[in-house]
């Protein structure tokens, strides 16, 4: 028992070192010019996507509710935080105004999370999916008609405060917070809603509370991701937050495995980089992306494919045993 605890402590230490180590390496490589603006831009986008995917995983993977409007929360966060740095906190120095703006963006998204969460408590499955889809579109349409943030022309001239450091540490924070949440009694409660709502209720779990909780956490982080995005691009347009964007995030969640944080991170990385790798086959990019999706889904779920994976695993274990 004691040994187990010590192991745990070691693990935590190793994780922390790993997190800082990765950051240090990337920073050094960037200063050396080995990671140029192109690569660091991709890294930044990857971090933003990790936040989006891990947060969506909370509602779709752990809570088990299909949501098709994650981009809506992202939009709220993006616009709110951009408005903050451009107008509200314009006089403050970046080091204060930016985190403050991100927080405001996240919180406003959170408020929307409640607004969408409460009425949907009674809804299940595909009906919920539709409501969230509709909600995302409502946000987008409203933004199109808000002239003080540019309407369809987009909101431009946003200070470019986002950099890799911000994105990296916010992504790390998001992952840690969500993992900690999931591995607590509150996380178990969220998962129990996915598994069987009636049994969860009978076990004394207030499912309404936990549904909303999951929604607002997801919304908050999506809002923060939106803020990072806005301050990276310098211009945001409503058309960046369509249903297709929500789908893109959902695809990453599913590919990584529902309710699987590690998988989510890996798939966010892979699916952010994949389109860049495919630049040389430019007009076939979408088609290849589509095929990859289909093949991955088939591979993940076809028994034949799983059998092969198991055999490979067994071989590795045997080898290790021999050594």
């Amino acid at each position: 028992m004691k040994k187990l605890k010590e192991n745990k402590k070691l693990l935590i230490l190793a994780t922390l070192l790993g997190i800082i180590g990765v950051f240090a390496i990337i920073t050094v490589l960037t200063q050396q010019g080995i990671i140029n603006r192109y690569y660091s831009g991709i890294l930044l986008s990857t971090c933003i996507n990790i936040i989006l995917v891990v947060s969506l995983n909370l509602t779709t993977g752990f809570l088990g509710q299909l949501t098709l409007g994650h981009a809506g929360f992202m939009a709220v966060g993006a616009y709110a935080s951009a408005y903050c740095t451009k107008v509200v906190f314009a006089s403050l120095p970046a080091i204060v105004s930016f985190p403050l703006a991100l927080l405001v963006g996240g919180l406003l998204a959170l408020v929307f999370g409640v607004i969408i969460g409460v009425p949907t408590l009674r809804l299940r499955g595909d009906y919920l999916a539709i409501i969230t889809l509709a909600f995302g579109e409502v946000i987008r349409t409203i933004l199109l008609n808000l002239s003080f943030v540019g309407g369809a022309k987009g909101y431009s001239g946003i200070p470019r405060y986002s950099n890799f450091m911000w994105a990296y540490f916010l992504a790390v924070a998001t992952v840690i917070i969500i993992v900690m949440l999931i591995k607590s009694r509150h996380g178990r409660a969220i998962i129990s809603v996915r598994e069987d709502e009636i049994a969860a209720e009978a076990s004394g779990i207030n499912t309404s509370y936990y549904k909303i909780l999951a929604f607002i956490f997801a919304a908050f982080f999506a809002g923060v991701a939106g803020g990072l995005y806005a301050h990276y691009m310098g211009i945001i347009e409503p058309k960046a937050f369509t249903f297709n964007k929500s789908i893109e995030i959902l695809v990453m969640v599913v590919l990584g495995g529902m309710g699987n944080i590690k998988g989510a991170i890996v798939s966010a990385i892979v699916l952010t980089i994949l389109p860049e790798l495919l630049r040389s086959v430019s007009s076939y990019r979408t088609m290849i992306y589509a095929l990859v999706l289909i093949i991955m889904m088939l591979a993940k779920n076809s028994p034949a494919f799983k059998e092969i994976i198991r055999k490979i695993k067994n071989k590795i274990i045997k080898k290790e045993a021999q050594e």
């Binding site: 140029n36 603006r37 192109y38 831009g41 991709i42 986008s45 349409t141 199109l144 008609n145 540019g150 309407g151 369809a152 022309k153 987009g154 431009s156 001239g157 470019r160 995005y229 990276y232 691009m233 310098g234 211009i235 945001i236 347009e237 409503p238 058309k239 960046a240 389109p275 860049e276 630049r279 040389s280 086959v281 430019s282 007009s283 076939y284 990019r285 979408t286």
Partner: protein
């Protein structure tokens, strides 16, 4: 053929010290790819011609590297970074849509890459930096011209507008037309919106019909225009149709050109010009599709950029930007210079559709 993506030496993408790299960015996939590919073809034609004529730029050949943006700002930014950092592009002719162009303009802050967009019309684009230029006229400019023209020349007193609420271009034209037309003393009686991708406009047109206006301003691209004009005439709307440069190409998709008779729109060139006609034929021969304003603009902007580099005498970004600021360029679309904002000073043509053909408007 117009195989998108596979352009003059696009394949490798690595650095090539023997060539000057011109970067292009635009949507080559997705529903806006019509515009992106047309622009890219235009650029491609310019560079191919340049190389085939045995010309050299600062002693080197010119090579086009074009990357797809799918119309997405993040993709465009990535493409920009790759062009500048990995491909060592000297200048960029792009992007195509206003949003993505503004995004790369923003990304170029601190880098200073000369950027010339053939088609980004939103005002915000050239505001992103002194290194950012455009070859097309801005939304406010062309809408203002049309607003005044409608009142002065067409004699319209009342107008209605139907625009795509999701498109920056469409929204920009709507706002500025309204200001200009009303500034002249006309009355914009009804402004109707619709969503991107809509195909049914009957409800809005029914309302517009009630208002019985002299002209109906339709500031959008030809896909929507073909449907709107047809539905409008079917409902019995008799107003004259007017529009912006997005109209160019409408005849190629209309299944019933009679509904377009007498419409007037703004364009970058006049269709009767023999040089234009010759160019269009060459273009069609090479790419198999009809030339649109996007293709002309792509072609001219590429040539303009080459001229600027030549005049700068070096690949230094600031030198090229200075050259652009002082340029005096003559292309298929006529003469062009830049103002202090990086916006073009150039002529604009009023085109009308007569007997199923584009012709220069004559009173």
């Amino acid at each position: 053929s117009s195989e998108p993506g596979q352009t003059a030496g696009n394949a490798g993408g690595g650095t090539d010290t023997d060539a000057i790299i011109i970067g292009a960015i635009g949507p080559y996939e997705g529903d806006t790819s019509v515009y992106g590919i047309a622009v890219k073809n235009g650029i491609d034609l310019a560079i191919t011609e340049f190389n085939e004529a045995g010309n050299s730029l600062l002693g080197k050949t010119v090579k086009l590297v074009a990357y797809d943006s799918k119309g997405d700002n993040t993709e465009a930014t990535n493409a920009y970074n790759k062009l500048v950092d990995s491909d060592k592009a000297t200048a960029i002719v792009g992007a195509v849509l206003s949003g993505e162009s503004t995004a790369i303009g923003t990304a170029s802050q601190g880098v200073g890459t000369p950027i010339l967009s053939p088609s980004a019309t939103a005002l915000a684009f050239t505001e992103t930096g002194p290194n950012v230029f455009r070859g097309c006229f801005t939304d406010p400019y062309q809408a203002k011209m049309m607003g005044e023209f409608a009142f002065d020349t067409l004699g319209a007193k009342t107008a209605a507008v139907i625009y795509d609420t999701g498109a920056d271009y469409s929204e920009g034209l709507m706002e500025n037309f309204k200001t200009a037309f009303e500034g002249k003393g006309g009355q914009v009686v009804d402004v109707e919106g619709y969503s991107t991708g809509d195909t049914d406009f009957n409800t809005q047109l029914t309302k517009i019909k009630e208002s019985n206006v002299d002209v109906l301003y339709i500031p959008n691209y030809y896909k929507d225009i073909a449907l709107i004009t047809k539905q409008a005439r079917a409902l019995g709307i008799e107003a004259q149709f007017i529009g912006g440069d997005g109209w160019d190409g409408v005849l190629s998709v209309s299944d019933d050109p009679t509904v377009l008779e007498g419409s007037v729109f703004v364009n970058h060139y006049s269709p009767d010009d023999p040089e234009i006609i010759a160019w269009a034929e060459a273009y069609k021969a090479k790419y198999g599709v009809d030339a649109t304003a996007f293709a002309y603009l792509g072609y001219d902007c590429a040539k303009l950029m080459l001229q600027a580099i030549e005049e700068a005498g070096s690949t230094d970004p600031q030198a090229i930007v200075d050259a652009l600021n002082n340029i005096s360029f003559d292309g298929v679309l006529g003469h062009l210079e830049f103002d202090d904002n990086g916006d073009p000073i150039k002529d604009l043509a009023f085109i009308t559709i007569k007997d199923g053909k584009y012709t220069s408007y004559q009173k």
